[in-house]
Symmetry: C2
Subunit: 321 residues, 2 copies
């Protein structure tokens, strides 16, 4: 630890799930908050925050949380952000920075901005990081390391406030990028929202088949299906809100996806192997790009990652009858 003053004096966390609790954990290690005050809607979550020691103070209301805080981060489903902004607006300290972590930015700006006082700095943020788990126990301090955090300050936002929040996220390990809310929503529609929708769809399709039993689907999931179930296990409330809040961009990307899957379906129906081969070769190259820029591991994945492999032992050798 350094003896220098922390970046912000008092960090208020509204919502302490996977993302909020990871911010809390990392902030404590990284000298970016002198103290942390946290709140959550449910009494059970508030109790758990206290048990885990994630904050210096756990309070019952959003208004109490933001009192005296110079940084407020709202980490809740995007559909609830407007209401929270309305609640906290009158209680914000002058000059406080208000941010969020939502996966949709246009709707969050639209819903929150009108409720925030002119002397607060509103700098929406989206850390593009996560796992398929939720809740305060799921977070960990390294979640944002080498991940991107996208800031979408509305026109006229104080540049120093934006830069200070960028410093905050860099201290948590993230790379920071700035773009407009609308462009953010288009980029995320294809890189995140559409993949989730498709994963949710196919997992549902598989669950409803009469000819193939549920247990067969689970049993033979290592053939590819398994990779979809991971993202189709993400938090339902969060994702409901994402699709409702980014409807236009998601519908646009869905339209293009449907055109493309129709073309591949036609190639299969017509036995057009050349077209299939060409497409599959092209997509393999894209994977290489992702590994090259460090957004995924090149290690082969066979559904049993982490320390237990490649050391999973073979059975005893064949020893005759």
């Amino acid at each position: 630890m350094t003896g220098k003053a922390p970046l912000y004096n008092r960090l208020a966390l509204i919502g302490v799930g996977l993302i909020g609790s990871s911010i809390a954990r990392a902030s404590r290690l990284q000298n970016v908050a002198g103290s942390i005050v946290a709140t959550a809607r449910s009494p059970a979550t508030r109790r758990r925050i206290a048990e885990l020691g994630l904050a210096d103070q756990v309070v019952e209301t959003n208004a109490a949380a933001v009192a005296g805080a110079d940084l407020v981060i709202v980490s809740i489903p995007v559909g609830a952000c407007g209401e929270v902004a309305r609640e906290i607006g009158p209680y914000l300290a002058p000059g406080a920075t208000v941010s969020d972590v939502g996966s949709v930015k246009g709707a969050v700006v639209r819903d929150m901005a009108p409720h925030l006082p002119a002397n607060a700095h509103f700098v929406p943020a989206h850390p593009v990081a996560g796992t398929e788990f939720s809740g305060p126990d799921a977070g960990f301090a390294e979640l944002f390391v080498n991940r991107w955090c996208i800031l979408t300050p509305p026109d006229g936002t104080d540049a120093a406030a934006t830069e200070k929040l960028a410093t905050f996220w860099r201290a948590l390990g993230a790379n920071v990028e700035t773009m407009t809310p609308d462009h953010h929503d288009l980029v995320l529609a294809i890189t995140s929202h559409l993949p989730h929708l498709i994963a949710y769809t196919i997992v549902g399709t598989a669950a409803e088949l009469g000819e193939v039993t549920r247990s067969e689907v689970l049993q033979f999931s290592a053939g590819g299906f398994r990779d979809f179930t991971r993202i189709a296990a993400s938090d339902p409330t969060m994702w409901r809100d994402v699709f409702l809040a980014n409807k236009d961009a998601v519908l646009e990307m869905l339209g293009r996806f449907n055109e493309d899957i129709s073309a591949l379906t036609r190639a299969i129906r017509n036995g057009d192997g050349e077209k299939l081969f060409e497409h599959f070769t092209h997509t393999r190259a894209i994977r290489k790009g992702i590994v090259q820029i460090g957004q995924d591991s090149p290690a082969p994945d066979f559904g049993r990652p982490h320390p237990d492999l490649p050391h999973t032992p073979l059975p005893k050798p064949y020893a005759g009858e």
Copy 2:
């Protein structure tokens, strides 16, 4: 190593890619083959097999490979299996077992069976295991551990020959299941073929967008897209053949997927949050089932699996201006 006689005297491997080379590596450790003879279509692959020491003998033709072998495993794209059966048929030792590893079974049975002599035992197999890498260097002995291997012996196959091949796969660590070729093709259409087709599609869709650049797609892929690119990096030749060979079942599953995605699209368009929430809750439960039966790790995945996490270090703490 045991002093007991190996399960088979001589194993002939035709095709030594990810699967064939994993069979070779595991067979050497598990006392299931007295000797291994291997061949591959390309001289470069044959040289590499020899360099890696994967076989006792590397030969140039399929006919030479099967001479004297009591187990022949064909590990090549399914579209090439018929031609190989035609080539090896006349050279098979009496009583030899012929098997394969193809992801489609109906077409393989249809293409191979007519070329095999009556005194050979034909036991098609499909080890449901793999990674996104290909070639003889990509294999490893533990690939099949705790994975399923599905045997689809045609009616009238010698039960002892089938059971012996099951013993072989169990010695390589696999769990063995037996079903008809047609049922196999339906199960795999939903658990493997459709997921691959969808992953190939969305990765292609993302690559063709004008408003979102290729580098943005790669950069922000951690939001979900990344998980699709892994399976869309699988071997193009193998997958072209899978879709051509299992056309009917894949088209059937595609039809159902399209119905389901239309229903979710409509829910988004209508702002029907309740329907979305209900669907997403349902799919989360299916993920739990897969983890419970050991077909995936419960460890959270954030694109940097394996030993490097959760130990990825945070940057140095904020140290002031």
